[in-house]
Structure formats: C-alpha cells, structure tokens
C-alpha cells in the first residue's frame, strides 16, 4: 500500500525532469486510524463508500386520476394513463382543455390511482371498444359523446340518472369487464416503469362513500409488477364499502400471491367523523383485531391534497398559528354539514394522539401512521405547483371561470373552485428508484409530505445527538449512525439518558420560497390518560428571538399579490438543529414529527388574478400560502 502512494506522489513532477531514484524520498502520506475516525461510522476514507442508507428523497405522488376514472371522464378529462405517465416523466402534453402543460421538473415515481369502480369503462366506450359497444346503451353513449355538445351532456345526465335508479348497463359494474380493464391498465403502467430512473407503481383507489358522501377512500399500492397485480381482481365498492373488508381482501391477495400491498386513506376532513372513529362505519366498536389489521395495511395517511389539508383543525389546536391552512370543514363529499364531535375524528394529529390511547386499550394503535401528500387531481395532470396549477377537474383547469366556479355543488351547498389547493407531493427516502424500494420505504414510513414544493427534510430521533451533529454537511450519516429516521420507533432509553434528542435538517426547494422555521410537533398521553400536544420551534431564519411567552415572531411577508411575485430576501435557504425534549417524561407515550414552514409566497389564485384579465375572485379568496412539509413521526414507548 505504502509503495503505491509513494509512486503516485512523484509521478506528476517526474514526467518533466530527469529523475533518479535518490530524489524520490518523499512520502505521500498514510492513512491512520485516528484520521479515519473523524469520518463518523465510515468504513474508510471515502465517506460515501459502503453507505447503504437512502441519500436522496424521491419525489412523486400516489393519487392521480386519469380519464379511466369514470367521474373524471364524465367531467371532461381526456388525458389517459399513458399521457399522464409521460407528463409525470417530464413530457409536455395537452390538457383536456387543450392547454399545453409541463412539470417544472420530472417526478421520480408516481401511482396512477384510478377508481376501481367501473375502471376504464366509460373511457373505452368513448374510444369505441367493440366488446363494450355490443351493449346498445353503451353504443348510444359512444355516439353521443363523439357527437359532443348537447348530445354529450345528455349522455352524462343519463349516466347519473341510471346510476341513481340502479339501472346502469351491465358492463359498467361487471366484474369480468373490470378485471379486463385492470389488466389493460397494468399493461400501460408497466410500459412506463424504468427501474433506476422512474418508477411507475401499480395502484387503484377503492372509493367507499359510506352512508352517502362520507369519504373513506383508500389508495391501494402494489409492491410488485403487472404479473402479480393481474392475479387478483381489485376490490370495488360494488363488493364492499367497509374498510376492514378491504384489509381482508388485501390479506387474501398477499396470501395468494406472496406479494405485498399497502393502503393510504385520505380526506378524513370529508368523512364526517368516520375516518378516525373508534367505531366501524356500520357502528361496531373497533377491537384488537381491527386495530392490528389497520396498523398492518395502512402505514401512511395522505395529510394534504387538493381537497384540503387534514393535519390538524385550528379549533382543536388554538395555540398552533399554522393550523389554519387550506381547511375544508363545510361537510363531507356531498357537502352534508358536520355535527359537533365529527372534526375530532377527521384530522391526522388528533388521530395520532388517539392512537397512543387506543394502543393501551387494544394492544395496537390503529392510527400509527406516517404522513404523505398527493394531489387527487382528476385531470391526468399531477399539479402541486402554485404557478402551474391545472385544477382538480377540467372545469378547474386554468381559465377565468375558476375564479368564481364551484368545485362542489350539492343542492345549493357549495365549495368554491378557489378553495382547491395546489397540493401535495411525497418524498420517499428510498435506497434506489425501484417500485420495491419505494414501497419498502412507504411501509417503514420513511416518507414525508409537502404541500407542493420539493423541500428536502431529514428527521432523526435518538438518545445522544449533540449540537455538534448539526454542524456537518451529512446529517444522514450522523442521523442513521446515532438514531432512527422518520417513521421509526425510538429504541429503549440507555441508562443515564434524560430525554430523547432529535436531528432535523431542511433545505429549500430552489423553485420555491425560503424557509421560515423547523418545528417539532409533539403529541403525548399525559399521566391522567388524556391526549396532549405542543409545538416547539427548533430552528428559524434570521436573528429573531422568541418573546416572553416563547412565541417566535413571524418571518415577514414579501408577497406582491398583484404581480404574483415574492422575494427570498427573508427566510433561510437551509435550517438544521439538534433538539432535546425539555418536557420529557419517560413514563409517558409520545410521538414527534417535524413540520417545516416556508415564507409566504403567492397562492395559485394570485397567479390566476395576474394572468387572467377576466378573473373575478371574491374578496375572501386566499391569495397567499405558507407551504410546508410534514414528516412522518417518530414514536416513544416507555419500557416495561
């Protein structure tokens, strides 16, 4: 070893002079154990060799609908799964309203999650699938939709009427047709999967509106490819509307195929108290088996999307100045108004807290989930960027109409288009860009959600992080070396440790706003068995100091609403800190997650107002947004 280093040291100079062995006396240097030790936990000099942990978050989302979702097609969506996947990979495509659209940067992965109910039927009737057109009603629909205008509208009206009367053509609910469509879908998805570059994961949405518009929807995500996914027909709400029967179906799939599935629920905010209830939708108290199944099959929750953000309702967290964010609390999907007590069972933080309590009662927390974000866009166009928001349905694609239109209108109970959010996105800390690696990271909850921007966030918990750990450029190396990443459980406290410590680091999205602060949200079960929460600011930009009550002053605001611009003259491009819980009680269960807040930036509504002369937003339409990232929690459980 020594000899080689020695030779290399003289090679450069020796070329240009006449050397003699006597001149070669210098030593290029040796590597001593002491020198190696400064590269914490590394096998050799190169700090990156032998590193097995995830090094880059992979960006994507798991909730995009295309024209193969019947509700999307009926609403005018013509972008199918093939174009949707091309768009996700960075291609420019035409939207259903004929507008060119492109992502600022390609995604690394995506799940096209069309509704399993009547998957692809209407889209393929439109395209003239001969097998489907054998049905005279479907042939009539095909002709009407192709004719367009009033004839096409009549078709949509007839669909709705026949659905209400339970008289839809057989193919619409036929299991064989659905299975056939599924296999066509998986073929399209499979054709876009490029291991190492882009992962097209297979999935579908099971869309239970139990009791009429109460959102119990779940996205089912497959670990493996078409060959396995094609073995079992996906579950529909024609089969069942009960989540526990979805889990039974998933267990059956896993038994039959040896493969793996997970499900991601969303829009608890539109479930009218059912999403995180302690009774099943059909009124039975949840039990140990129910809790175990939910914990096994639903490791994640979609905390933010176009139909509102469900982290925490401001009424449940008066001290949380950032809770009032893209809140949809008028009612359920049919805008049936809420009754008292419903909101407490609809939001993620509240559920995580209740999970600590339920764990004591049932042996397992059914609500021990990580957090992610996705769009739920029904346009085939996944758009979570404020300046590039293509709406939820074709009617809310860019145009002056969406400044006044209604996203939901049930018997006069409305939600406005401007209330739709350009949200959200998921970052996955996977070891490589493959379906299996991404799925595995989801299963271990090593993922986080953002409201759109690609903010990098690391979050680790352990017992011996020290402030110096925040000084290096490789928080991952220190983090994995000393602790557990987001989504994990703190190991038992070593003797003599006073409180858990956390390492949190965030790097801004270069396309978006600077960072205001990193917060840690703590939830715990107090000595009397009541759930509690508290938010700690652990890192922030500038020289702000918390006031006497510990409140950090706001970061400021540079948004020019009229021109839809802002400046990054406030905030910080990156923040990192080590934090130790000052109120830790080792006898109490707790969880901790990080929330990273951006400085205020223009909301999509401001971009619209600046772009469309005819835009006419109501006075109360929000024009600014404080984007954020939510990590999956890290849990602490007292030892026996």
């Amino acid at each position: 070893m020594r000899l080689h280093a020695f030779f290399l040291g003289i090679a450069v100079s020796a070329v240009h002079m006449t050397p003699s062995p006597a001149q070669v006396t210098t030593d290029a240097g040796t590597i001593s154990p002491e020198k190696i030790e400064r590269f914490f936990n590394q096998p050799g000099y190169s700090p990156y060799a032998g590193r097995k942990f995830p090094t880059l978050p992979l960006w994507g989302e798991q909730h995009l609908h295309t024209s193969w979702s019947p509700d999307a097609f009926a609403a005018g969506t013509r972008v199918g799964p093939d174009e949707a996947l091309r768009y996700a990979k960075g291609a420019e495509i035409a939207s259903s309203t004929g507008q060119p659209v492109r992502l600022s940067r390609p995604y690394d992965w995506i799940v096209v999650a069309d509704h399993s109910d009547s998957l692809g039927v209407i889209s393929n009737v439109y395209d003239g699938d001969p097998a489907l057109l054998a049905d005279p009603v479907l042939k009539k629909w095909h002709d009407g939709m192709k004719e367009g205008g009033a004839a096409a509208s009549a078709v949509v009206m007839e669909m709705i009427t026949l659905q209400g009367e339970g008289k839809l053509p057989k193919a619409v609910t036929d299991k064989d047709t659905q299975f056939d469509m599924w296999r066509r879908m998986t073929e399209i998805v499979e054709s876009h999967n490029q291991p190492g570059t882009f992962s097209a994961l297979i999935g579908y949405e099971w869309t239970s509106n139990y009791g009429g518009g109460n959102n119990l929807h779940r996205n089912v995500i497959y670990r493996d490819g078409k060959a396995v996914a094609d073995l079992v027909r996906p579950l529909t709400t024609f089969d069942t509307e009960l989540p526990n029967e979805l889990w039974d179906w998933m267990a059956n799939f896993e038994d039959k195929t040896g493969s793996r599935l997970l499900a991601v629920p969303h829009n608890g905010n539109l479930s009218n108290g059912l999403m995180f209830a302690t009774e099943t939708p059909d009124g039975k108290p949840i039990d140990a088996e129910w809790a175990m199944k939910r914990a096994r099959f639903e490791p994640l929750y979609e905390v933010t999307q176009s139909k509102g953000t469900s982290e925490q309702h401001p009424s449940l967290a008066p001290a949380d100045e950032f809770a009032d964010f893209e809140i949809w609390d008028k009612g359920n999907l049919n805008v049936v108004p809420k009754e008292p007590g419903m909101i407490e069972r609809e939001y993620a933080r509240e559920a995580l807290k209740r999970g600590l309590k339920l764990e004591g009662e049932l042996g397992t927390s059914p609500f021990k989930f990580g957090l992610l974000g996705s769009t739920d866009d029904h346009t085939g166009i996944s758009s979570a960027e404020e300046n590039n928001f293509f709406g939820k349905f074709p009617a809310s694609e860019p145009g002056p109409e969406r400044s006044t239109g209604n996203a939901f209108d049930f018997e006069g109970r409305t939600v406005k288009d401007w209330q739709l959010g350009a949200s959200g996105l998921t970052a996955v800390w996977a070891t490589e860009n493959t379906r299996a690696a991404i799925w595995d990271a989801m299963k271990r909850k090593e993922v986080y959600g953002t409201t759109g921007p690609r903010i990098f966030v690391r979050f680790f918990g352990g017992w011996d992080f020290v402030p110096e750990d925040a000084l290096g450029r490789n928080p991952g190396t220190v983090g994995y070396g000393k602790g557990v990443p987001m989504g994990g459980d703190l190991p038992p406290a070593p003797d003599g440790t006073a409180a858990p410590t956390f390492l949190a680091a965030a790097l801004k999205d270069p396309y978006s706003g600077n960072l205001d602060r990193i917060q840690i949200v703590k939830g715990w079960l107090d000595a009397t068995g009541e759930t509690r929460e508290k938010i700690f600011d652990i890192a922030w930009s500038g020289d702000r100091a918390p006031d006497a009550n510990g409140k950090l002053p706001p970061v400021g605001d540079t948004v020019d609403v009229e021109n839809a611009t802002w400046t990054n003259t406030i905030g910080a491009p990156e923040l990192i800190a080590v934090w130790s819980d000052p109120e830790f009680d080792p006898s109490l269960k707790a969880f901790y997650y990080a929330r990273v807040i951006e400085i205020p930036t223009p909301r999509w509504t401001a971009y619209d107002a600046a772009y469309f002369e005819d835009a006419d937003f109501a006075e109360d339409a929000t024009m600014k947004v404080t984007e954020r990232a939510y990590t999956s929690p890290i849990w602490y459980t007292p030892g026996e």
């Binding site: 240009h16 002079m17 096998p43 050799g44 420019e92 492109r102």
Partner: protein
C-alpha cells in the same frame, strides 16, 4: 463602415411603404399567447449537468507505469456513482454520480501499462516493450517506470508502433 448601417436603416423604414405583397395591419397582428403553464415551450437548457472533462486512468502512461491500476472501466463506473476499490485509499464512492465524464488519458503511449501487464503481442514488438514487460513481471516495475519517464522527458516514443496506437484508440472509444 458608417454609410452601411445608414442604408440598412433606410431599408427598414422603407419596408412598410413598398412591401405591398404582404400587408399586415397592427390590429391583425397578434402576439402568440403565453401559455398558463410556465414550463412549456422552454427551449433553453433546464438543467445544469456536472461533470469532469479531465480524468486520467492507468491508461495514461505516467499513471499506469507509476503503479495506478484503475483503468477506464473503473473510471466510468465510479463516475456513474458506483463504489470501487481505489489503489491505496480503500473503497471510494462519489456523493452523487457525475452527469458526464471525459476520460482524457495522455496520448503519449496511451494504454502502455495495460498492454505491458497483459503482455499484448503488439507492445512486445518493441525492445523497450519486451524489456519493461519482463521488468514488471519480475516486480521491477518501478525501474521500468523510471526508464519510460526518462525517454518521455526527451520526447521520445520508445514503443513507436502505429498498430498499437490504433488498436489502443479503438479500445478507448469502445471503453467510452
């Protein structure tokens, strides 16, 4: 020079008056609309790609004859983000893969140490080649290196074999 721009200027001014074949009124002229999506029709570069245009391997004689053992294949693999075993410093890996790399080995006796170590017939056609190959086999590569450096310092091609040069170059292109 001075009259020339004036003429051009006059031509521009005259154009609307004389160009009767195409008449476009100001009202009829429409600027194409800027699409809503800010990222469509971007014809300028969207990404910055990071790379190295100047990397030597064992195929550079001053490196290979001096004991470097990692060739172009390892160099490309490491540039793509793979872990490789370095000559002297243990395993090595980049923080992030490079987007591109130019393996730019010295043209003078390019590939020499590889050909010597394999005892390639092309290199053994020269006296120096046969001698150095033998020296390397006997564990006396350092002196071979010194001899090569000495000749190279006098701008002397001690192998001087056009067949080997073209053979090596084909393999360089193949390696890339």
């Amino acid at each position: 020079m001075r009259p020339y721009p004036m003429l051009v200027g006059a031509a521009f001014v005259a154009l609307p008056v004389h160009a009767q074949d195409i008449s476009v009124s100001k009202e009829a002229y429409s600027t194409p609309e800027r699409p809503y999506s800010p990222y469509v029709n971007d014809h300028y570069p969207q990404n910055v790609y990071f790379g190295d245009t100047h990397l030597h391997t064992a195929w550079s004689a001053d490196a290979g004859m001096a004991g470097a053992t990692l060739g172009p294949d390892e160099a490309y693999r490491v540039s793509r983000g793979e872990v490789i075993e370095s000559q002297a410093g243990g395993p090595f890996k980049l923080l992030r893969p490079l987007d591109f790399v130019v393996v730019a080995d010295h043209a003078e006796n390019i590939g020499l140490s590889d050909y010597l170590l394999r005892g390639d017939p092309l290199v053994l056609q020269s006296d120096a080649g046969r001698r150095w190959a033998q020296m390397m086999k006997e564990g006396n590569g350092y002196n071979a290196f010194i001899e090569w450096v000495d000749g190279n310092g006098r701008a002397e091609d001690q192998i001087d074999n056009p067949d080997m040069m073209s053979s090596v170059w084909e393999r360089v292109v193949e390696n890339a």
